[in-house]
């Protein structure tokens, strides 16, 4: 029997977020291609079982629960220890993680512990002739690399919002407890607190709809127009580097080469000309809409839909239309 596919499932405050479900669902496809067993690995403090039950639809054969007070908050050393232990004890050949803040931090540390290779932020995973191959955007999406691996195990992190969810009605998974023995002295970097979670907006990297503003926003106050449309659509607000560097909006909203790379279902670029810097961060979006005064702006060359016109006139109308549609 080929080696297990093991998927790390991120659980924050008892909740499994969508990128982990997407990763598990892709894990099912990879395990089927290998003809191997799919194991979901969940770590946290005691009481993970309800979270584990939410994984059933993605089709894992086994769910391993690692429960320990020292795993209550994410911490790279403790999590890398339990993940590496699980990979060893299952003799997993392929380890998948979501390319979230947590997955990007944990993946390399756990891979280093096992002397294993890792391909980051992949957008496609396939098995040909019994060998795993992945595709990943490099040079901020200006090129796509096809990567193969040497040695075992191999680690892969998957870009959120790219892989579809499963709808498996297969047999219910086996839920097992994974024994944890952590030495508190070996956990040195510790999270003291998490700020900004209360009533927080959706993060631009997680949203399935993103509305971004650029240089034509002219100042911080006009981002209210972007926010209103994003809210009406149930999406997140983003910005170009020009708007961030001008100090109109915080860097956490920046989409582009030195900001976040996003791939939502719908990306609406408002007053963004389409500098290579920006395109690098959003060109894998499924549908791109551009709103710009300048009919020759480069952004129109890759937009699926566009409006040439004044965003100060168009955005309020657009928000109104969306609200009407959604009965808000």
């Amino acid at each position: 029997m080929p080696k297990d596919v093991l998927v790390f499932v991120e659980c924050r405050e008892g909740q499994v977020k969508r990128p982990s479900l997407e990763t598990l669902s892709e894990g099912r496809r990879v395990a089927d291609a290998f003809g191997s067993h799919l194991c979901a690995f969940v770590a946290g403090q005691a009481g993970l079982r309800p979270a584990a039950e939410a994984l059933t639809a993605q089709g894992p054969d086994t769910i391993l629960l690692a429960e320990d007070p020292l795993l209550a908050h994410y911490n790279p050393e403790a999590y890398a220890t339990v993940l590496a232990d699980a990979v060893r004890s299952r003799q997993a050949g392929t380890v998948l993680l979501p390319a979230t803040a947590l997955g990007r931090d944990l993946g390399p540390r756990a891979a280093a512990r096992l002397d294993a290779g890792l391909a980051s932020d992949c957008t496609a995973v396939g098995v040909t002739d019994g060998e795993l191959r992945v595709r990943r955007p490099v040079y901020s999406g200006k090129a796509i690399a096809t990567v193969r691996f040497r040695g075992s195990p191999v680690f892969v992190t998957l870009r959120p919002n790219v892989f579809p969810l499963g709808t498996s009605g297969g047999k219910p998974p086996k839920i097992e407890t994974f024994p944890v023995s952590l030495d508190p002295a070996k956990i040195r970097a510790r999270v003291l607190r998490i700020e900004g979670t209360e009533g927080a907006e959706q993060d631009v990297s997680e949203a399935s709809i993103v509305v971004s503003g650029g240089r034509a926003m002219k100042g911080p106050e006009n981002f209210a127009l972007i926010k209103a449309l994003a809210r009406a659509l149930g999406g997140a607000m983003g910005a170009s580097r020009a708007a961030v560097d001008a100090g109109w909006i915080d860097h956490q909203y920046q989409v582009g080469q030195t900001g976040k790379v996003v791939s939502p279902n719908l990306y609406i670029a408002c007053g963004i000309s389409g500098a290579i810097q920006h395109l690098a961060g959003m060109s894998t979006s499924k549908v791109i809409v551009a709103i710009n005064k300048d009919a020759d702006a480069p952004i129109f060359k890759l937009a699926d839909y566009g409006i040439v016109g004044d965003l100060y006139e168009i955005l309020p109308k657009l928000t109104e239309e969306v609200r009407k549609l959604k009965g808000q």
């Binding site: 994410y74 280093a112 040079y139 999270v191 003291l192 080469q257 290579i276 006139e313 109308k317």
Partner: protein, 262 residues
């Protein structure tokens, strides 16, 4: 305070990417090379810590001959000395190999703090910082936007989805820098002149007693089999010369009925 900063030379972020004849790398002709932007935040943070705490900053970089110019750039910003990890055996290293090389070079030096950029622009892997921390058995905090150092204890803020984690760690530790951490300084003329006299020590695989089979292309666990340009997107329906209200209504209809995304 003894601080190491690991930097990488990368193609300028404005570069138009062309694929080389081997179909697995980029065509480097006419490409300008720079210090990876996230590494500059790491260098700047090191300089600020030295201004407060005193001490020494050493820059490390793995790369061919050309990489010396990246090291000169950070020496001109104010780094004290540099180590150029240069060996034919290092060529084609992936994150696994690079972290082995850097960990071998850093291990004997007992640094209090080792800084990286959160990722090198280009390969966009974001792995080497946490991997080096693991190999050196040090704690790490990645993607930091704020660092506060008091009495040998470090607090850092890191970005997570929609929130910030406040992390405390004892030293020695590894940090990786994110945009927003600081505003990197430009090298002064005095700095540029001083950099010419600073030491860049060349270190090879043999100097580090590294097994050449564990680094470079031969030691890589991930190999780029093919590199291609992304599929070109073509321009779609652009609404022109319409009244704002009509254009907005038509766009919403298209997104609803044709694209089916809202």
């Amino acid at each position: 305070m003894k601080i190491a900063v690991c930097v990488k030379q990368v193609p300028d972020t404005e570069t138009k990417i062309r694929i080389a004849a081997d179909s697995r790398s980029i065509d480097e002709s006419g490409v300008a090379f720079i210090v990876s932007p996230y590494d500059e935040y790491a260098v700047e943070e090191a300089l600020r810590i030295r201004e407060k705490e005193g001490g020494e900053i050493v820059a490390y970089s793995v790369g061919d001959e050309r990489t010396a110019t990246a090291l000169r750039t950070v020496l001109a910003m104010g780094v004290d000395r540099a180590v150029h990890l240069k060996d034919r055996a290092f060529e084609g290293s992936d994150a696994l190999g690079l972290s082995r090389i850097l960990a071998a070079a850093l291990a004997p030096e007992s640094f209090n703090l080792i800084l990286f950029g959160k990722q090198a622009v280009g390969t966009d892997r974001g792995q080497v910082g946490p991997r080096v921390a693991e190999l050196l058995d040090l704690p790490h905090v990645s993607v930091v936007t704020r660092v506060n150092l008091e009495e040998g204890r470090l607090t850092a803020e890191r970005e997570i989805e929609g929130a910030r984690e406040i992390v405390a760690t004892p030293l020695p530790a590894v940090l990786t820098a994110q945009k927003g951490l600081n505003e990197p300084r430009y090298a002064s003329l005095k700095g540029i002149l001083a950099a010419k006299k600073k030491e860049i020590r060349v270190v090879t695989a043999a100097d580090l007693s590294l097994d050449p089979a564990k680094v470079g292309i031969g030691g890589a666990a991930t190999v780029w089999e093919k590199l291609e340009l992304p599929p070109a997107r073509t321009s779609g329906k652009i609404l022109k010369d319409m009244a704002p209200a009509a254009a907005a209504a038509e766009l919403v209809r298209l997104l609803r009925e044709e694209a089916k995304v809202i």
